[in-house]
């Protein structure tokens, strides 16, 4: 098996090369696009089974960078952590590929779409499988590139292309931190491969710096405060992209990286404290914004940012399994929700505004059922996957709440859990239950007209949704203990020390609190959006007393505008100064044209000496010859003074 590891990333790459260079008929292009990820999934299962027997698979593919002390082979590694990740990436990825055949069927960029999607799979698998942080960085940049390409997939609209650029540039800021982190690791360990680093001597000072810089990188890729702003805009891409890249896989790369570098992070408790606060703050902030969004994908996007905050908070407790567990369950239910949202949008011919939806439950019962399954898992209905993973994180944070940062974070996370239940209930009730156009009388006729020719999702769309729905509901119960046991050998350092009594106490408190906030959030959601009276009250509140508050939240607390004035405008100003002063004045005018002008001026001055008169030429020649003669005579004056003693 370890001889075949290279095939796992390369199979999707082959799909990319075929679909990227040839314009095949859509059927064939779709089959080729799906074949790579599915074959990779089969190989991943094989690798997983072998890892399950306690082996760690390694393959040295070729020597990549070899320069003196710096030796970086192109090596792949599957240990329990990466085994879990490749299963999620290829498994959920394959389902999304299959779904895309149906979803993108009428798009003229069909082959291009699958080519990019396959390239993304290659990069993501490289990120996860690479056995050194340098190779991980290659995958890290690769997924960033594919994210950019797919967000701007419908590039003919400027808005989409701009969203792609925003994602790319925001990620660049994070990647700069990631690079600095790599340099710190090199300084500390003198090697970059994970095995070598994990056996190396950890120095507290460098570990803190490396952990901080790498976390900045993770903030960019995984959309944490302050670099989260690109993810909601990334919804400009096709919905399967949002499901695959911006919910299930790429954005969780930061959590994977933190888990992978666990031996560095346990040595940097202050960075962990920062991480738990950033994670919890992101979770709460994005959760609040999600409440007031009216675009179905924007709600899910902010929910994703919020859940990513949960994952970082979990990882920050040094119980990395909790973060990883949430990565896995979140991949299931958020992919399901995005794909379900895609099916809704598809059915309504591109309508994304939830105020124009409503009443879809009766018309699309199967779709409504799977969407509700995903929603319940996200909201944390006891028994669903989301409940278990969120609860695990809450327990982990609660156990460390002796430290003030963790205590504050626990409260924020608990509030977020309630908010999550609230906005999920709101979303489901408005989209599937309420009468269409209830909130907006004007849109009523329009919405009714649209609902007559619903575009029903086909089997290729429903089958992946059904599989994901089962995983979202049952994944928590089935996976929690096996995952804990399976991944445990990866974590180094002291096992988690806490007395049984305290642990069961934490569990009791958190299960109770989780259920309470779920009931509270979902109940409030029902109260406000489940009944006509509630909706009318919300309408009055939004238009009356809460108008300013609602506008503030709906406009995302004006963070984009704040960045516009505090970051982007100064950068633009600096760029203008550099362009005008340095480039145009100093370089272009002074140096480039200045050199030309200088030569021209000297030439103009010297041409006066070219009189064309032969006599003047001869006189100067003679004077020159005499001058030379005098010089030579002066040099040898001893000799001739001796010969001619005047």
């Amino acid at each position: 098996m370890s001889k075949l590891l290279w095939l796992i990333p390369v199979l999707p790459l082959i799909g990319f090369l075929i679909n990227g260079t040839k314009r095949l008929p859509k059927g064939l292009a779709g089959i080729i696009g799906c074949a790579g990820p599915i074959a990779s999934f089969a190989l991943s299962v094989g690798a997983f089974l072998q890892v399950h027997h306690g082996e760690v698979l390694r393959q040295h593919v070729f020597d990549w960078i070899s320069a003196g002390k710096l030796q970086i082979p192109f090596g792949l590694m599957v240990d329990p952590l990466s085994a879990v990740m490749i299963l999620v990436v290829t498994g959920v990825g394959s389902l999304i590929h299959i779904y895309s055949i149906s979803y993108m069927h009428e798009d003229e960029g069909f082959s291009r779409f699958f080519a990019y999607l396959n390239l993304f799979m290659f990069s993501m698998l490289l990120l996860v499988l690479g056995d050194s942080i340098a190779l991980m960085f290659v995958g890290w940049e690769g997924v960033g590139l594919c994210s950019y390409l797919l967000i701007g997939f419908w590039y003919k609209e400027l808005k989409n292309a701009d969203a792609g650029k925003k994602a790319f540039i925001t990620n660049r800021i994070g990647d700069f931190g990631f690079l600095l982190g790599i340099f710190c690791l090199w300084q500390m360990f003198g090697t970059l491969d994970f095995q070598g680093m994990s056996r190396g001597q950890v120095d507290d000072h460098w570990a803190g710096l490396a952990a901080l810089f790498l976390f900045i990188g993770a903030c960019g890729k995984s959309a944490q405060i302050p670099l989260y702003v690109w993810l909601p805009d990334a919804m400009a891409g096709p919905t399967p992209v949002s499901a695959l890249i911006h919910a299930a896989t790429m954005v969780t790369a930061g959590v994977y990286m933190v888990a992978r570098m666990n031996f560095v992070y346990v040595a940097a408790p202050s960075v962990m404290g920062l991480m738990v606060l950033v994670g919890a703050a992101t979770a709460l902030f994005a959760g609040v914004i999600a409440v007031a969004q009216n675009d179905i994908k924007k709600v899910l996007a902010y929910s994703t940012v919020s859940q990513l905050g949960f994952m970082f908070a979990g990882a920050a407790t040094a119980q990395f399994t909790t973060g990883l567990f949430h990565v896995v369950t979140h991949a299931f239910f958020k992919a399901l929700l995005f794909l379900g949202a895609g099916a809704v949008i598809h059915a309504l011919h591109g309508e994304q505004d939830i105020r124009k939806m409503g009443g879809l439950g009766k018309k699309l019962p199967a779709l409504a059922a799977v969407f509700v399954a995903g929603g319940l898992a996200l909201a944390g209905l006891p028994g669903t996957a989301g409940f278990f993973s969120k609860d695990a994180i809450l327990v982990a944070v609660f156990e460390k709440s002796g430290l003030p940062a963790y205590g504050v974070a626990w409260l924020m996370l608990l509030t977020t859990a309630g908010l999550t239940a609230f906005y999920t209930t709101r979303l489901i009730l408005i989209v599937f239950m309420a009468k269409p156009g209830h909130h907006d009388e004007h849109a009523k006729d329009e919405a009714h007209a649209e609902h007559h020719d619903l575009h029903k999702p086909g089997i290729l769309m429903m089958a992946p949704l059904a599989i994901l729905a089962v995983l979202s509901l049952a994944g928590g119960v089935l996976l929690e203990k096996p995952l804990e046991h399976f991944v445990h050998p990866v974590w180094q350092g002291k096992p988690h020390e806490i007395s049984e009594a305290a642990e069961s106490h934490a569990h009791r408190v958190n299960v109770g609190a989780s259920i309470a906030v779920f009931v509270l959030g979902a109940g409030l959601g029902f109260l406000l959006y489940g009944r006509a009276g509630g909706r009318a009250w919300v309408q009055r509140f939004v238009e009356g007393g809460g108008r300013k508050l609602h506008a503030l939240v709906e406009n995302k607390f004006y963070v984009d505008e704040i960045y516009e004035y505090t970051v982007i405008a100064p950068v633009k100003m600096g760029a203008t100064i550099l362009w005008f002063l340095v480039d145009r004045v100093i370089i272009d005018t002074l140096l480039v044209n200045g050199a030309g002008w200088a030569v021209y001026g000297v030439g103009r001055a010297l041409r006066r000496t070219h009189t064309g008169s032969i006599n003047i030429g001869v006189v100067s020649f003679l004077l020159g010859a005499l001058g030379l003669l005098a010089y030579v005579a002066y040099q040898h004056k001893e000799t001739w003074l001796k010969a001619f003693p005047f």
């Binding site: 070219h610 009189t611 064309g612 008169s613 032969i614 006599n615």
Partner: protein, 99 residues
């Protein structure tokens, strides 16, 4: 006669030639003056050859004469070509090299 006499003659010839080159404007005269300068040098060479009893000086003089003959033939040919083109050999009128 000491070496000094020969050298004075040589220097005088050279100076007369140089004066001719500088002061006259007729190309033909300038060419002749150059010949005078060359012969001034020849006198000096022969005088030193005699003084040091070294035949190298003689050889050089023969060499200079040969070169001078070639130079005069080329120079006269140019002079004739210039005259045919410009109808003048006055250096005051030949200024087309002005920058």
């Amino acid at each position: 006669m000491s070496i000094a006499h020969y050298l004075i003659l040589s220097a005088a010839l050279f100076a007369i030639g140089a004066f001719g080159v500088l002061a006259r404007r007729n190309l033909l005269i300038i060419l002749m003056s150059v010949e005078v300068m060359l012969n001034g040098v020849n006198v000096a060479l022969l005088a030193f050859a005699r003084l040091h009893a070294n035949t190298a000086g003689h050889v050089f003089v023969l060499m200079v004469m040969g070169v001078a003959a070639a130079e005069v033939s080329v120079g006269l040919a140019i002079l004739i070509a210039v005259f045919r083109n410009r109808k003048t050999v006055d250096t005051g009128d030949l200024k087309s090299l002005q920058g």
